[in-house]
């Protein structure tokens, strides 16, 4: 608690803070900033973190204290980049002893530094939450002094929020790599979700771009949280009211496009994280170049590799909901996703020998693999065909996208149109049907893509053939 005394000048109201604001420019280390400035700096520094979900935990109000949580999560607004705003996403401090090349807060950058006090974080959260601006708090931080010290600061803030302010809303906290297990455990009992950022897919890249971080230090807290969550499940089975440890699970994020890894490598890592570490989500963050650094690829003309990010998310869904394995989607020879076609269609046109499948007899897992049939509509089909034969008209009502599915299915032995089961023919027609891309990547047309977009590989993969349409 020594930390607290040094850090906080507890000021009770925002009004007081405004009055105490010092005029003129005082040197940055001793400058007492007002809350506006701090919020500005520490939001700006936190925005590159992708996760802003408030899902995964259902907590009813207790009739006295403020806050409840909805299982599906709630987005409260959408910022100018179209991303949802669900949590108050801020850093505790943007001071950092590490010098990660891609990070805007790295120690060698000359940016204005600021640090919140736990009191300020609590008041901001409560004031925003009370007005229904946010669903809770997302607290991350630069590394101040050392990992343990930083984790302790985070702990102090959310301890105060949970026990003094009795906040029952959602809290997402970063576990700091290298922090001691005891601290992580303490934090985990207060937070709903924890995450440690993997940052980069391979050890080598991490070593090159984030020399102060090590793969071991990142995976250690992840493993610890996983084990502790499993133990907690047993505790909860025994004692229903035992405190919950990270009830909404843990997530992580990787930067895409800053290093030469292929999509195959990235997806392999994701698969391992889902299977071996029991992660809830892996997020992908298209690399945005904020620092001029010779170790980083140049900022591409058309901005961050958003299409590549989109393809990775699509494949991520295939892993989590559609029972695909990475090795089915990609391999050493074709290590990157087709930029013209989504991974599921791409897989299907390469495995035409398995199609068409009969809607009325195919099992659920086979239906899942048909392009145009999502896991919800696959479930509906299985339910509906118990009552009677399913036809194309019914499929449409169930939400199946027929313009994609029609090449791969039969209903009662008939296809929708006479269709040639040839790869070229189907690919051409699927591309004509135009995929619905997110608006952010839709602005680029195919011509642009084939000329300039190397699938987000930056400068390393010159001349490598990434596209396969045959």
């Amino acid at each position: 608690m020594v930390i607290l005394e040094k850090q906080t000048n507890v000021r009770k109201t925002w009004g007081d803070i405004m009055k105490k604001e010092l005029p003129g420019n005082v040197s940055s280390s001793v400058k007492r900033m007002d809350i506006f400035e701090k919020l500005h700096i520490l939001t700006d520094a936190a925005k590159y973190d992708v996760a802003c979900t408030s899902s995964g935990v259902e907590r009813r109000g207790d009739g006295i204290n403020m806050g409840n949580c909805e299982k599906a999560g709630i987005c409260h607004s959408f910022s100018a980049d179209g991303r949802c705003v669900s949590l108050l996403k801020i850093l505790f401090t943007n001071e950092c002893i590490y010098d990660c090349k891609y990070c805007v807060n790295r120690s060698s950058n000359d940016v204005v530094r600021a640090t919140f006090t736990p009191e300020e974080i609590c008041r901001l959260t409560m004031d925003f939450y009370r007005r229904n601006y946010i669903e809770g708090l997302f607290l991350s931080s630069g590394i101040l002094k050392n990992p343990d010290y930083t984790m302790e600061l985070i702990y102090t803030a959310i301890y105060k929020l949970r026990t003094e302010y009795h906040f029952r809303g959602y809290i997402h906290v970063k576990a700091i790599p290298g922090a001691s297990p005891e601290l992580i455990q303490k934090v985990g009992f207060l937070a709903d979700r924890m995450s440690v950022n993997l940052e980069l897919p391979t050890k080598e890249s991490l070593h090159r771009l984030a020399p102060h971080k090590s793969r071991e230090n990142i995976l250690k807290p992840m493993r610890y949280v996983q084990n502790r969550m499993n133990e907690n499940k047993e505790e909860l089975a025994l004692y229903r009211h035992a405190p919950k440890f990270v009830p909404a699970g843990q997530s992580t994020q990787m930067i895409v496009g800053a290093t030469p890894e292929t999509d195959y490598q990235i997806m392999r890592v994701s698969e391992a994280l889902y299977e071996k570490f029991g992660l809830k989500r892996v997020f992908y963050s298209a690399f945005v170049n904020v620092n001029e650094d010779k170790a980083l690829p140049m900022q591409r003309e058309q901005g961050p590799p958003l299409l590549r990010e989109h393809r990775l998310y699509q494949a991520d869904w295939l892993l989590r909901y559609y029972k695909f394995k990475v090795d089915e989607l990609l391999n050493e020879k074709n290590p990157n996703f087709n930029i013209f076609m989504d991974p599921k269609c791409n897989w299907a046109v390469q495995h035409l020998e398995r199609f068409p499948v009969e809607i009325n007899t195919a099992d659920y897992n086979t239906l899942l693999r048909v392009p145009g049939i999502g896991y919800l509509s696959a479930g509906r089909i299985v339910k509906a065909r118990k009552m009677g034969k399913v036809d194309f008209v019914d499929l449409k009502k169930m939400g199946v996208v027929l313009k994609r599915a029609l090449y791969f299915i039969t209903c009662n032995g008939k296809m929708l149109y006479p269709t040639r089961m040839e790869q070229d023919y189907i690919v051409r027609n699927l591309l004509d049907a135009k995929e619905k891309l997110p608006d952010s990547v839709r602005n680029m047309n195919y011509q642009q893509l084939s000329l300039f977009d190397d699938g987000g590989q930056g400068v390393w993969l010159h001349g490598q053939e990434n596209l396969y349409l045959s």
Binding site: G15, K47, G61, D81, G82, N132, P304, D439, S440
Partner: protein, 255 residues
């Protein structure tokens, strides 16, 4: 026999009273419809009957739906009755008639091939989606007297649907939600259950008078909202698709 159309006011009591009358007289034939004052479309070969609203009648119908058609159907029908669609009354009545004809009346909501059931289902989903949406975008402001006040302009009557959510969330706050389109209030006094109030004249001036710290917190929020966007990824189209302009009217960050 000529089809009978029962006319009522678009209130809970009015609608359920009309359902009562229709059920009493036409449940065998199913040849009846329900129309609302203000959205009457005359049909040929119809007999128009005005309903006298009465809470006893309304309660009887509610009880009957609850008992015979089950909790799920009741929830759907109730939610559909909050819709502004003028065909809702007829759809609900036809759903009740259809439920009467099947063996397991409580499974009626699974019969989506019946157009009336489908309509009730769709209406309930539309209303439910709007409720979800307003749980997200509703914004409270603190008035001088410490009361949290939110103004919303929804298409359907959703105040009743969202109030329980905020009661769970802000149990010890005095708050009220004002639906400016349908002139309904949900009022919650700290520590008590919320109540629905309508037809009360409001003092517009009182609602404009915000507390001292309100402006500052709104500025902080706007600042945060501005800073959280990544410039390199900005896309107006995407933002508009996720959050259409018509919903932004009462949101602090878009003022």
């Amino acid at each position: 026999m000529v089809k009978r159309i029962y006319i009522c006011h678009d209130t809970k009591e009015g609608l359920f009273s009309a359902l009562y009358d229709a059920w009493k007289e036409c449940r065998e034939t199913g040849e009846a419809g329900i129309a609302f004052y203000g959205s009457l479309e005359s049909e040929l070969f119809c007999e128009y009957v005005e309903t006298i609203p009465n809470s006893k009648k309304a309660n009887a119908v509610e009880q009957m739906i609850w008992k015979n058609m089950g909790k799920e159907a009741y929830g759907r029908i109730y939610q559909a009755s909050k819709s502004m669609d003028s065909g809702k009354g007829t759809a609900i009545f036809q759903t009740m008639v259809a439920a009467r004809k099947i063996k397991q009346s409580d499974k009626i909501m699974d019969h989506l091939t019946n157009p009336a059931v489908k309509k009730v289902h769709d209406l309930s989903r539309t209303v439910g989606n709007e409720e979800l949406f307003f749980k997200e975008i509703l914004r409270f402001r603190e008035l001088k007297n410490g009361i949290l006040y939110a103004r919303i302009e929804p298409k359907h009557r959703i105040v009743e649907g969202i109030a329980p959510h905020f009661e769970g969330r802000l149990p010890m706050e005095n708050w009220m939600i004002y639906d400016a389109v349908h002139q309904e209030f949900a009022v919650h006094e700290a520590g008590k259950r919320w109540i629905l109030v309508s037809d009360v004249p409001i003092d517009g001036e009182l609602l404009k008078d915000v507390s001292e710290s309100e402006g500052e917190i709104q500025r902080l929020w706007k600042q945060f909202f501005h800073d959280i966007s990544i410039k390199e990824r900005e896309s107006d189209i995407r933002q508009k698709r996720m959050l259409p302009l018509k919903y932004r009217k009462n949101m602090v960050e878009f003022e």
